[in-house]
Symmetry: D4
Subunit: 173 residues, 8 copies
Amino acid sequence: MKNIVGIIMGSDSDLPIMNDTVKILEEFGIANEVKVLSAHRAPDLVSEYAKSARNNGLKVIVAAAGGAAHLAGVTAAHTTLPVIGVPIKGNVEGLDALLATVQMPPGIPVATVAVNGAKNAGLLAIEILAVEDMELSKKLEEYKKSLQIQVEDKNKKLEELGVEKYLAEKMGK
Amino acid sequence: MKNIVGIIMGSDSDLPIMNDTVKILEEFGIANEVKVLSAHRAPDLVSEYAKSARNNGLKVIVAAAGGAAHLAGVTAAHTTLPVIGVPIKGNVEGLDALLATVQMPPGIPVATVAVNGAKNAGLLAIEILAVEDMELSKKLEEYKKSLQIQVEDKNKKLEELGVEKYLAEKMGK
Amino acid sequence: MKNIVGIIMGSDSDLPIMNDTVKILEEFGIANEVKVLSAHRAPDLVSEYAKSARNNGLKVIVAAAGGAAHLAGVTAAHTTLPVIGVPIKGNVEGLDALLATVQMPPGIPVATVAVNGAKNAGLLAIEILAVEDMELSKKLEEYKKSLQIQVEDKNKKLEELGVEKYLAEKMGK
Amino acid sequence: MKNIVGIIMGSDSDLPIMNDTVKILEEFGIANEVKVLSAHRAPDLVSEYAKSARNNGLKVIVAAAGGAAHLAGVTAAHTTLPVIGVPIKGNVEGLDALLATVQMPPGIPVATVAVNGAKNAGLLAIEILAVEDMELSKKLEEYKKSLQIQVEDKNKKLEELGVEKYLAEKMGK
Amino acid sequence: MKNIVGIIMGSDSDLPIMNDTVKILEEFGIANEVKVLSAHRAPDLVSEYAKSARNNGLKVIVAAAGGAAHLAGVTAAHTTLPVIGVPIKGNVEGLDALLATVQMPPGIPVATVAVNGAKNAGLLAIEILAVEDMELSKKLEEYKKSLQIQVEDKNKKLEELGVEKYLAEKMGK
Amino acid sequence: MKNIVGIIMGSDSDLPIMNDTVKILEEFGIANEVKVLSAHRAPDLVSEYAKSARNNGLKVIVAAAGGAAHLAGVTAAHTTLPVIGVPIKGNVEGLDALLATVQMPPGIPVATVAVNGAKNAGLLAIEILAVEDMELSKKLEEYKKSLQIQVEDKNKKLEELGVEKYLAEKMGK
Amino acid sequence: MKNIVGIIMGSDSDLPIMNDTVKILEEFGIANEVKVLSAHRAPDLVSEYAKSARNNGLKVIVAAAGGAAHLAGVTAAHTTLPVIGVPIKGNVEGLDALLATVQMPPGIPVATVAVNGAKNAGLLAIEILAVEDMELSKKLEEYKKSLQIQVEDKNKKLEELGVEKYLAEKMGK
Amino acid sequence: MKNIVGIIMGSDSDLPIMNDTVKILEEFGIANEVKVLSAHRAPDLVSEYAKSARNNGLKVIVAAAGGAAHLAGVTAAHTTLPVIGVPIKGNVEGLDALLATVQMPPGIPVATVAVNGAKNAGLLAIEILAVEDMELSKKLEEYKKSLQIQVEDKNKKLEELGVEKYLAEKMGK
């Protein structure tokens, strides 16, 4: 199965967070590849990767970086595939990475998700792929329903146990 | 031609900015519709719109709002279509709208662009539509090239005129 | 006894904080109910809850959420009961939740308290209920006096012990 | 008719903004009084006003201030009536007034609305008064409906005119 | 010996930090008193304290508080003695306390020091007292010289040991 | 009459703001001197000025600067006189000047007032001088009373005219 | 004369600000070239420019950009010449451009100057060139002295005219 | 070998961070010296150091400080050598030190690197020295290549091991 989502990150220290992107993609059966590709330490690798992405069969790229996060923006500069940016929290509460990822100039968009929002980056990639994929779109609907069911289940349990016991059980975990 | 991009905004005061989304979509020949739909003043209209969006043929939704910007997030809560959020600048330099749009919880992504980034919201929608549309994808490549050509043209002119004359001409406009 | 304050929160991870709202309400003998109700994962439950709140006998709703905190605003969009918003601290020091809760547009107010201000959310609910309830109003006056007495007691102790012993005792706890 | 909402502000330069509180209260027929009462320049007037507020028949107090905004907090320290705080924008984008109003310590809540959120302060006061006032509560429901109808009317017009003409007409005003 | 510096704080949880003010004052032989006096929980005690401060012999007041820090401002509203404000770090990195302490309106100054700047609050009080006190002024000059000597001593040691050994010794402590 | 307050500023572009310090000092009859003294462009002049200040009869120094505001801190490094810092608003809303002025390390305090708080810098200087000056202290008490009277006068007028006429008159000015 | 400083900027709208870099370089007789080179719209031009810079005789590069400012960082990724970054003010007070320029990861430094600090970017380039250029180093010393002399001249004038006349003359300009 | 880079810092508590500057300089064989030199506690030592730096053979100065970080700016005021500023993280996430270091007025640049960016300060110094040093310039090129090779090696390993095993091994360390 050909990889259709590329997940790149500025450093392997981002991998524990970005693993959530991998996991949600696998839950939906989306073939993906993971690369450590710094826009600063390996800029030519990044531009090569971005330029050849569409021809290599990729349909969406997820790019994660912290600090003066340039990876998503530089990738977007070299491809017309949708690029999803994940700001990674480091200093100044991740505000640097958020602003450096989201405040792109007209012409070159980056679809930015929350600070450390790796899971949502994966879900956004799936939503994009589902635009023309009926089956995937149905899986997303089911996933969405499961989120509501989880909420309902928690409420039932909360009603049964009351706040104190619920908290005790939660904390006991 | 059926509308495939829905552009919604919290107030018609956002329209002068969001018109840039309309214009870039039209430049690429993408049929779209524009609605004023406040998550706070007309929440049921928003949930109806979002829930029926896919069945109505929409493929991407662009949602713009300022302040405690909830429109994109609420829309995303009711659909599995990709939702692009545009934070509109009001008080506190648009930081409120940016954070209220981008910091979504796991499960419900919003693809956030820059503060007042209406043009990029349109381009991101086009990139998403182009994932499975060869023709659109080619148009995007040409658009990208045209951006670089504009930069080259400016540099040629700058070289010919020198900084002072270039500035004088620019300011004279 | 009918519940007259509804306490809702975006995730059960907010419960350890929001338990302070429950505790202060119980101290004042106010019947209340607690629900986990995400504006993003279970939006229809939220709108149902908010729309039927007044008919169900609720008089005030306390809504707590973190990140792009939409719960209080979405609840306020569906009811004319007073809605008290509690921004929950997560990333960016809770500034995202604070701005997403407080910066509501004209027409739909949310009575926002401090980041993690669960106890004050309860007290504000009590103050609202006390507007037309003489007895409750008296309890509030006594509570307020008790706050001053606690301050006076600490000062007496501080005077007796001196700073060093006071600190030693405090730290020893 | 006895005044039941007190509107106080730190300076008469806040009056052009706070007039929106007066106007919405009058729209709902709520008798109110307006005072310029600085917590810094006239602290004793503030504490007198706050201490006697309930006996003078007030049911809610709206307090507006900018900068190191202490007015709402100081008022709340001296009364058990609900106090609504309006942060007024001055330097640092109103962030100083917002934080100085909302970040109250446990025991003394202030119901904070948006920066310059004068209209919502009035509406929140009305919601509080409507908790035990059936008639007022109905007026609020009608007001809420009127907000949605305004949104619908704008959408009809937008559909009829199209974006360009709508914008032209809007700008022409 | 009469107390001439009053040190007040919003909560006894501020005492571990504010103890640095006590210690530096004692190092300079300045008689002082310490009180826990919340502007929110015990407002009348604060205004009494501030109003009678000059008559009670106080010459400077140091006021420390966190969050929506009103203590210094409220104290300054009730006295013409110099009031030194110490913002205490809590949520949002102490930025709330800093802005709530320093952004005072024209007419009522607060001499604000750094977040958690308890030692400097004491030194500033001493500098104020030293304006008309030759002896105290000399002690301050000596203190200032001692600061420079400490710097010189560290440099000598650094030169002798080299960076690695210096660090090892420092860390070993 | 010997100058006892020195007012220094980083640039003569700060003079229109700092003139408020001069005016309030003159209102209280305090002899003062004004200098343009950049910590960056004329550092030796600053250290000379600060080192000789006490011997030249100065009792308090007010130092104003914007951006990476070093003037107050550098002055404080060279004198044991109380130094009052005025952060001047430039870029980033004056937050740079505020933090660069107030966040001094232990040992070297700067008494910081609000962004552009020139008037309060003067009043704080007067309060410091009044610590040992009975007459000045009385003038301050009268000034404080006058502030309250101004508030009372505005309220009387507001009561007489009502909000609308008051606003009309205010705006008419 | 060969160009030894390259000045590049993300958009020709930055040119009015960056002209200050050109002017100060010309004042010191440093040959320079100016290019509009967007890291997002013309990424290959940027990498070519940066990679060939040293061979083309450049010794320092000044790179200016606003928003998610990537130009300086991307340039630094492709050269080992010193790169000076100038954050250009746009939205959020230039904080986005500042953080996106300065928060570079270990391995790839950017020498960042103030928001809109075009003149200082030029002076920093000159200081770098002067490290091994005695003559240039002397010119810098003279420039530095001239700054102090300007300060002294302003003070003389201020002393002669007094504050009011000085201000009147300044404003009259 | 004569020291050509001076590394100064406001406190020896900055030494564990600034040791990274020493290490990278030593890796490149650049002779350097380290001093603890507070702009506030030892201002005369700082100005002496800065004034004599060029004559003592220094070519670049690295200055690190936290809070109201004045050390780099004050050093720059006294020398025409390039001064590299390292903001040290303390309170408010290092934003105070960053703004106090970078926002220098026209005339006196400081080359600012990231918060705690000690390694990059060293690399920037090396880049400056390499402008006229062919051999050093080659070493920098090799260093840059090694950064890319590290990235490639990590990717190879990631490809071999897969995400899970890579993470396990990384965490196991």
